[in-house]
Amino acid sequence: MAWLVVRLAISLSLLYTASAVFEDQVGKFDWREQFIGKVRFALFDTHSQASKKLLVATDKNVFASLNSRTGDLFWRHVDKTGPEGHIDALLMYGQDAVVVVGNGRLLRSWETTVGGLKWEAVLDTGSFQAAALIGVQDFVKYVAVLKKSAISLHDLSSGSQIWVENLPDSDTVQYQTIYSGGNGLVFVLGFVPSSHIVIVEYKIEDGEIMKKKSVEAAWMSSLENSCAVISSGNLLCVDQTTQSLYTLPLQSAEHTEMRQIHLQTLDLEVASGFQPVLTSTQPNPAQPPLAEFFLQLSPDHHILLQLKDDLIAPLRDFNPSYLAAFATSGEKTVAAVMTSKNDTACSINLFSADTGRRHLDTTIIYHMDPNGGKPNRLYVHAFLKKDDSVGYRVMVQTEDLTLTFLQQPGRVVWMREEALADVVTMEMVDLPLTGTQAELEGEFGKKADGLLPMVLKRLSSQFILLQAWMAHLWKLFYDARKPRSSVKNEVTIDTLSRDEFNLQKMMVMVTASGKLFGIDSKSGTVLWKQYLEDIKPDSIFKLIVQRTTAHFPHPPQCTLLIKDKDTGLGSLYVFNPIFGKKSHISVPALPRPVLQTLLLPVIDQDYAKVLLLIDDQYKVTAFPSTKNVLQQLQDTASSVFFYLVDSSQGKLSGFRLRMDLSTELIWEVVIPTEVQKIVAVKGKRANEHVHSQGRVMGDRSVLYKYLNPNLLAVITESTDIHQERSFVGIFLIDGVTGRIVHEAVQRKARGPVHFVHSENWLVYVYWNSKFRRNEFSVLELFEGAELYNSTVFSSLDRPHPPQVLQQSYIFPAPISTLEATLTEKGITSRHLLVGLPSGSILSLPKMFLDPRRPELISEQSREENLIPYAPEMPIRTEWFINYNQTVSRVRGIYTAPSGLESTCLVVVYGLDIYQTRVFPSKQFDVLKDDYDYVLISSVLFGLFFATMISKRLAEVKLLNRAWR
């Protein structure tokens, strides 16, 4: 009963605090973009002519079906991250798609129209090598999976295992390929490096080994790309060192040696250092592959060859050519080849596979993005036109993970920026003012030069405003006549300007592939993109806004620090975040690994904030490093402190800047690595404002907050992971003095720890391994009833330790990320944004995480609006800010203040990107969306008329009385 009362009290109190979405707000200021990642396998559904399905499997462990006409997702299945969800192979036959997952652990068959699973089979462990569809008498009935030491055959309709056989000598022979020509036999090909090829022949019905033979091949180094089976069971291999092709009929018993064909006899040569690639095609798994194949001799040289009567004849030489691919429609097989046209465009042509003849009028022009990467994959969708000729569409994937779908003669049907599936870091930058706005601002900026010029200037700017307003009215009038759909004005880079409340911003996103994006936060349109080449995978990025748009006419400036993961060497890339253009500012060379960066509030004469980079010898590089900056740095050096974290040695050290830009060690805290390791260190956000210094208590006294801007939260995890002994440690360390302000240990807990450090509080989530649940804990620091120094906070002069309050709560769901809302002045109450694995983003009022929540309600606590303590935190679907627009694999939540105090901009990124606005204290500074203009005006008019009428009546009465 008591529970019920508490619940009721909570739910009542929530009615007034929680922000939620109204149904009519859907899509008004929020948007979501869904991504899939880098495509590894793509298959067009050729089952029927009208089918629009394009099945893709990506490196993000995503299996999806795209609409090939629009590029939208039909459905998408996101599997577990890591090797256990890795998609090894994708095969398609008819309506079903067979996927091998988790290094050959699972075999799944998907019903592609619905997007549901048909069956799932668990395979034995063993590293996956290959999978193939097996046909018998023109029907595809089975799927074969080749592991390192075993081969298994499964029924395609039910997934049941027909047989599984161990491979002979699997400890010495590397089996890599399966082949079946539809004649009741399955061939497994393997090899012993630099020795021989092994061919094992299995009977489909029972898995009996029919034949096993080994053929001498001393040159062999890999089967996968350099060998292919063509034309009714001929194994074909290419070798770079001997510059030869080798052929071998698989089935014939008499051939015990591979036939060598020197490439010279065909007038061909493999480019030095290039591993040649053979590409064959088997349109129907129940029939042998075609006799034609592509041989790639160098990165831009393909040749179409044909095997006929044991002779290899070139059909057509494509030099230069970037990419080549086969496609089949009905009985016809074609080859599409991409060749370079000029510097900015490529042309794709269609050739008939059996003759090498070019199809007329089949050219597709592909325009390369000058800021993008080179194309590296080509997927062809061929179809039969009404006149029985072959038409085709192509999907081109580039190095920067752009998918472009083209049709003749070069029209881009759709485009997807799959680099955005892996956003690493982002910033939001204010949009620039328009010309007129800037003009007005300029008036106030300049010093007065006489009365008359100022008056004139004022008049002229007023005139400009009038002009702009007239133009706006005219546009409104003009648009009103047009149909609704065509009015929707496109956002372009030229029309960008800040809106009244600064709600529209530029989202600068950095992706793991090294592609930068500028996205309009209102619509989600990509306004600019820039691919940075030569970025190693797993690089670490840090994006810094050095100059905002507030310093007209200086352009805004962002700096991206790219750090190599292995060497630690960094490089700087400076660009304009609004237009994406690279700045021509000279960038300091960074010869030593960068350990830490620090953005100072010191600005140079061009209003760019100074960035300090600390290298591994504790030397500091300033950027920009003009004389003015160095002078300022010398003046302020004694008050510039920074910290370094060395988690491998468990060491936290604080340094101070010296005049000559060297540093001195001030403090050091060592957390012994045998017991615990540092997992995260976080300070507070630099752009955070705290509005109130304290909290008013029920008895009218004030509890002052401990607002230390230098406070660092250090989270450690125990090295012992046994559930009884594992713990999570929390240290609050002053970054200037190295003093440990507070220390807490959460026993029987383990990570991953998510935490938010803001104002005077720290909220962290850990896994309680004893009770197997997630728990929230909140630490709040207070100075007490009196402020020690109310004018300025100094870490060096703090005689009294803060009072620390703590409370913990149960959170009834797992968590993937945690972030807090942020507003312009910090007046609005804070909410925590919790990313859940289900893809929902929960907006949890910070009110629930208040260590002063009482167990028993008293008069004072009621006055303070404290919610009574309840161990379990509520989760209500009304608090999901993204309603049904779930975001898969949330990696980070970015919050930014807007010009409105009530509004906080939120960007959630992960596999998808979701942008919205939240109003933690509701929209107290703007009229509500549903504000009833009709009611208020009708009441006003009604009152007005009522007074008029009653006045008239009164006059009449008065007159009547006078007559009496």
């Binding site: 799944r108 997007g115 913990s808 149960i810 009385r961």
Partner: protein, 237 residues
């Protein structure tokens, strides 16, 4: 904190009890990496139903999450599911769908592969309220994501207590003189008496009087008007 401590005591007591009665060891580590990796792997099976909705309309957006995203499963076209390769331990199994609500279930797997399902209770973690296994999960209906707008209607307006408080006296003022004959001298005397009863201290300035004085300063005309109307009424009679 104290609350949690108390719970802890309760938990330990219950723990002992259930360990005895079920032969289950609840203290078995959860999905701790390493300690269980070479042990046996099991399969969590079940079926999900959304009453009144065809499976093909919702299964493509739904997933089975075991302990967050630790293990992931997908739904078959008939609504059944299986999550493979799960080591022994205790897990919260949840069907997540952006459209429909499903209650999570805790599934315990012993090291021998014995399974049981029970209601999730994060406060009393050892309480066992058994659920069927293989899991039978019925949707509790669609999610409610949206708050309702406060709509404006005449009935809402009229039933508002403030409005009621204003309208009722108004009605009394207007209607009462019509019902009661004020010309009757006896009646008038009675009313005056009752008015005096209501106003016990005649010295005290009446608030309403004060207000009328304050507001009638500028509009003495209209005040006259009402007087006039009364006299007219009298005359008519």
């Amino acid at each position: 904190m104290q609350y949690i401590k108390r719970l802890l005591d309760v938990y330990i007591a219950l723990q002992a009890l259930f360990a005895l009665s079920w032969g289950f060891s609840d203290t078995e580590p959860g999905p701790v990496a390493g300690s269980q990796s070479n042990g046996d792997r099991f399969k969590i099976e079940g079926r999900a139903v959304v009453p009144g909705v065809k499976t093909q309309d919702w299964i493509s957006t739904a997933r089975i999450l075991v302990e967050g995203e630790e293990y992931v499963g997908f739904l078959k076209t008939d609504g059944s599911f299986a999550v493979n390769d799960v080591p022994s331990g205790s897990y919260v199994v949840e069907i997540v769908s952006p459209s429909f609500r499903f209650d999570p279930v805790r599934v315990d797997i012993t090291s021998k592969g014995k399974m049981r399902a029970r209601l999730v209770n994060y406060i009393k973690t050892s309480e066992v309220l058994r659920q069927p296994y293989p899991l039978q999960i019925r949707s509790g209906g669609p999610h409610t994501y949206f708050m309702k707008r406060e709509t404006w209607g005449w009935t809402d307006f009229l039933m508002n207590p403030m409005v009621m408080m204003m309208v009722l006296p108004l009605l009394i003022i207007v209607l009462l003189p019509k019902v009661v004959n004020t010309n009757d001298p006896e009646m008038r005397k009675e009313m005056e008496q009752s008015m005096n009863m209501l106003n016990p201290n005649p010295e005290l300035p009446d608030v309403s009087e004060l207000m009328t004085k304050l507001f009638s300063k500028g509009s003495s005309k209209s005040g006259g008007g009402t007087k006039g109307s009364r006299s007219v009424a009298l005359k008519r009679r």
